[in-house]
């Protein structure tokens, strides 16, 4: 933090100082201008929000079907989803990359977003929450002649708010921070995210590393996350405690 407002020559001083000696905002402007961080910001926010929204929709529908509707082979489907939960992104990166190549989605928003729209974790988390809803509540809605979609939107969703918020926050943070896939699927600044942009900025430096600018970039990447963290802390900790995956 301190180093982000210092001139470069003071950053690696011995002994180090923990309060800024010569505060300046230069490094912030410098970092912001030396790579298209504004664009990276927009890309990241757009990508993370789209993934969160998409996952909420697909996971809600699937979890609803798996908890409250009759499906032949429900156990088998759920078992498959549990397996899906255990397959890490790193393992399937090569085949998914090849799929993206076939679809012509390399270096595009689709490539960044679509592979993550379905989530075994999301289905799992929401199913746990939907199971908590008392059966009589659903039966009563059925007696009142509510359709399946009405039961979902009027009874189930309002009763699962905290699980939905937890899923949204966790997912937003994961994808905002995700590095591996965006690194592979993008190859121009136009589609790069903050994490990838920062690593490029870090490694592009020839000669003297602009540490102060890097620290400034670190700070402005972290700001939205910490805002989200303080607003949604309760849900985050709850989410980690109940599910604990990732």
């Amino acid at each position: 933090m301190v180093n982000s407002i210092e001139p470069l020559r003071h950053v690696l001083s011995v002994p180090p100082h923990f309060l800024p000696l010569h505060p300046e905002v230069g490094p912030y402007a410098g970092a912001w201008n030396s790579a298209p961080f504004g664009l990276f910001y927009l890309n990241t926010l757009f990508m993370a929000s789209a993934i969160v929204l998409g996952q909420l929709v697909t996971s809600t529908l699937a979890a609803y079907a798996l908890t409250w509707l009759r499906i032949p082979g429900r156990q088998a489907v759920f078992f498959l989803i549990l397996i899906g939960l255990m397959v890490p992104e790193q393992l399937t990166v090569v085949p998914v990359f090849l799929e993206m190549r076939t679809l012509g989605w390399i270096n595009s928003y689709q490539g960044l977003i679509v592979p993550f729209l379905g989530s075994a974790f999301g289905i799992f988390l929401l199913r746990q929450s939907f199971l908590q809803i008392p059966l009589p509540l659903i039966e009563a809605a059925k007696v009142d002649g509510a359709s399946r979609l009405q039961i979902l939107t009027r009874v189930i969703l309002p009763n699962s708010k905290s699980a939905l918020i937890t899923l949204a926050i966790l997912n937003f943070i994961w994808h905002y921070n995700d590095f591996f896939w965006p690194l592979i699927i993008t190859n121009t600044n136009h589609y790069r995210t903050l994490a990838v942009g920062l690593s490029m900025f870090f490694q592009s430096g020839s000669g003297l590393t602009p540490w102060n600018q890097l620290m400034a970039a670190d700070v402005f990447i972290a700001v939205p996350l910490f805002l989200l963290f303080f607003l949604g802390q309760r849900y985050l900790v709850q989410g980690v405690m109940t599910s604990g995956i990732k």
């Binding site: 090849l98 905002y176 921070n177 620290m215 963290f229 980690v240 604990g244």
Partner: protein, 310 residues
């Protein structure tokens, strides 16, 4: 009369049957979007991966079927085994540092701090977990420079700090440090929730029997939270075997491959050298390793994990 009741029963049955097929249809419809996406991007890729691993292919030319050649060349490759052992050591190092540290911190917070302070501590410990790993890598890179904060602190103790990121085993140690910093709070939170689930009556009974702190720890706390410990171990090992970002950002897998993890090796093969088939084979090996290690952990867990909770 009799006929009319018979008719209405069949009518009701038919209606119920129709409703049932309607419901089945609806549920498949609801499952469809998520199902198709998971099929396309999780399950199908696993099979596709097996196929790709049997090819010789550089993405540009024609793919050639080479059977198990990729596997046999991997097993003979010094670099592959180096990546395997780097990953194993990195994961083991993180495990033996992070879990005890997180456990004792959680124990301290649970026993010594009041509710407010422990809530505050939980937030503070959890903060690094939401910080982007890339950004942590950059910050740590600065701190571990030859003239960075880490070596300055060591010099206060009259110790000469190493070249953290370029000398001997230190690059590996540096990555373990960053990983520990990043995830230690997460495991503390998990352990805290485990500790909160141990009924206080057990400790009260032990106190009456005059049990020592050590006995309380080994006879009550550890057995009672063993499921949590087991869960944390499984997750940490799975995560350890997926380490990539730290190696990419801090050391680029170097020097001389000293911090090349399996996933970093996979990345290089696929996206720097474009040996797609070979990268596929690395993925399959990683999959086999992960499944094997997890199975062994479950098998071992029968000996030490206690599921007879009160």
């Amino acid at each position: 009369m009799a006929t009319s009741t018979a008719l209405s029963t069949t009518e009701a049955q038919r209606r119920r049957a129709r409703r049932l097929t309607g419901e089945v249809l609806a549920s498949w419809l609801f499952l469809l979007p998520a199902g198709l996406l998971l099929l396309a991007f999780v399950f199908y890729p696993l099979f596709y991966l097996l196929y790709v691993s049997l090819l010789h292919w550089n993405l540009i030319g024609r793919a050639r079927f080479v059977g198990l050649a990729n596997y046999s060349s991997l097993l003979q490759s010094v670099y592959f085994w180096q990546a395997v052992w780097n990953t194993v050591w990195m994961t083991a190092g993180t495990l033996v540092i992070t879990l005890p540290l997180a456990f004792f911190t959680a124990q301290f917070v649970h026993l010594e701090l009041n509710r407010r302070l422990s809530g505050l501590y939980r937030s503070a410990a959890f903060a690094p977990y939401v910080f982007p790993l890339v950004a942590s890598g950059v910050v740590w890179n600065l701190m571990l420079q030859k003239q960075g904060i880490a070596n300055w602190a060591l010099s206060l103790l009259h110790l000469a700090g190493p070249h953290w990121l370029s000398q001997g085993v230190w690059p590996l140690v540096s990555i373990i440090l960053v990983t520990t910093w990043q995830f230690f709070g997460y495991y503390t939170v998990i352990f805290l929730s485990g500790l909160q689930g141990v009924p206080p009556t057990l400790y009260e009974a032990a106190a009456i029997d005059g049990a020592s702190a050590w006995t309380r720890l080994t006879r009550i706390t550890l057995p009672m939270i063993s499921p949590t410990l087991f869960f944390a171990t499984v997750i940490l090992v799975l995560q350890g075997f997926q380490t990539f970002t730290q190696a990419y950002v801090m050391t680029s897998g170097g020097p001389n491959g000293a911090t090349t993890t399996l996933v970093y090796y996979l990345y290089q093969e696929a996206f720097q050298f474009f040996n797609i088939g070979r990268a596929g084979a690395v993925s399959v090996m990683l999959l086999i390793l992960l499944v094997a290690i997890t199975l062994v952990q479950f098998w071992l867990s029968r000996r030490w994990v206690n599921y007879d909770q009160l």
